[in-house]
Assembly symmetry: C2
Homo-oligomer: 307 residues x 2
């Protein structure tokens, strides 16, 4: 049900990164597709099922990547897609959502307010609410990354997964723990948006009053209880990283791998930078999950080190 | 014989580029692999055959990408690889050649002098000279890009191929003209390094006294007669583009596609920018053939537009 354009993404050793990181690093690259993130895997499932049962519309809240992906998947199947996003979301993401033909509604607040508004629209219009990380298709879509990792990687010791709502962590984590149980599943979240990591550590939902990180794709405050339950089953660890490490990770990926990544996609490299001893001599896979950045902000982040 | 890490590379519509280019554009991305260019496809064939017949060593001249790829392919098969390059070659490419364990010899001159020196070494040491574009494996490797294009692309009207020595143009061109003869095969070369294009137009080898372009990967001066013969059979056109168009193409690929590309890989977009009418409304595939750049130079090229 998933368009092949989102599947069998590149997975390759990136030796040029390794002197700086002190371990073997492979990249699973989820950015070379029409929406520049892994989210298409899940929205293809959602949209296929909706089209199959005769649905005509869907709505989601999004920091930008899910919205783009749902817009893309819905357009190809004749679905009217509405995306609710924060007015402060990454402009490039909002522009692409509009360009893909979705209706975009902005809220004066953060992602959690967008989630509330999307739920209101779904109730009012009687249409499907696509809830990232809660809806099983969004996790199953991400799980196909795990299948590809387990199939293709010769052998790796750990996989680093950006942790936001939890779709990628639970989807990939479930597959990896089922098929390659010795591989350590490590979730990485920004210190500035630590709600799910705190929840995982305390084994109960912990919310935060605010989120403050450049990693817009993972900047939630209110973990979903059912997703936390899943995460507790599959994650071996959840770690928090500083903003400066995220930026350093973005720079390293640009300078040594030639990859433009959005902040969320640099969380894995940031985690290695903050704890080299933990990874020394091991083979680590980092999922580069998205590359949707505002160009000016990107240049500000990566510029200083490069010039 | 080709490691799968080089095959089945991403091919996807890049709609964010399209308003600026006035046509439908698909990207065939050859940069998400251990050597960040398409050259591994060919060197895998070379190294497999050499290892199969008991050879222990090989030498090539390279602007940097072939050398990296041969170093990578040779390392995995126990071959001693020597790469001869210009002292003025892209530093990042030379660094990677060394890091991959090849012996690197620099010459005080351009790529044509490196070719002469590599031939001398091959004769003296009695080892295989890998001649890019002349040796059939280098063309057959590139031809696998063509097979993937013809297999996967729903329908496209033209393919834009960077033209240097001619391996990619003849390899891809041969497959495309054989299996999808209606697709226009357009080779693109910098105005500052036009030898092969002039040769194609006059149907005889034309050399130039100098090459002056940032597109180091295609900066040859002395076309190989046998390669020109092949190119005359498969290319529908060969066009020359300005340096400023190459830079504009690099910026567009960064700003709208999130792709870091080396100058040679922006030749296709440059060709569209210089002749929008020709491509208006058509579906064009551009092969993004490499991403090995010196970071400082790259920032200089793309910086002005972005900030």
């Amino acid at each position: 049900m998933i368009d092949p354009v989102f599947l069998d993404t590149p997975l390759y050793r990136c030796e040029a990164l390794e002197p700086g990181l002190g371990c073997a690093v492979s990249i699973k690259l989820e950015t070379a597709n029409p929406v520049r993130s892994f989210k298409g895997r899940g929205t293809e499932l959602v949209a296929s099922l909706l089209a199959g049962n005769g649905s005509r519309a869907a709505v989601c809240a999004s920091a930008g990547n899910l919205g783009q992906a749902l817009a893309w998947s819905g357009r190809g199947r004749g679905l009217d897609v509405t995306v609710v996003a924060s007015r402060h979301a990454t402009v490039a993401k909002l522009d692409r959502i509009r360009a893909l033909g979705a209706r975009l509604e902005l809220v004066d607040g953060d992602h959690e307010l967008a989630r509330e508004r999307a739920a209101d629209i779904a109730r009012h219009d009687g249409i499907r609410l696509v809830e990232d990380s809660l809806d099983i298709e969004t996790c199953e879509g991400a799980a196909t990354i795990g299948l590809e990792l387990v199939d293709a990687a010769p052998s790796f010791d750990a996989v680093l997964i950006a942790l936001g709502g939890g779709a990628m962590a639970t989807g990939v984590g479930h597959v990896v723990k089922a098929l390659a149980p010795d591989v350590e599943v490590i979730c990485v979240q920004p210190l500035g948006a630590p709600a799910m990591t705190h929840s995982w550590r305390r084994r109960r939902v912990v919310t935060t009053d605010s989120a403050d990180t450049i990693a817009d794709g993972v900047a939630g405050r209110c973990p979903i209880p059912a997703v936390l339950d899943d995460l507790l089953l599959v994650a071996d660890d959840a770690v928090l990283v500083k903003e400066e490490s995220i930026i350093a990770g973005m720079r390293m990926l640009l300078d040594h791998a030639g990859l433009v990544v959005e902040p969320s996609a640099a969380l894995g490299v940031a985690a290695i930078l903050e704890d080299r001893d933990r990874f020394a001599g091991r083979h680590v896979v980092s999922i580069v999950c998205g590359s949707n950045v505002d160009v000016d902000a990107y240049h500000r982040w990566v510029g200083a080190a490069a010039i």
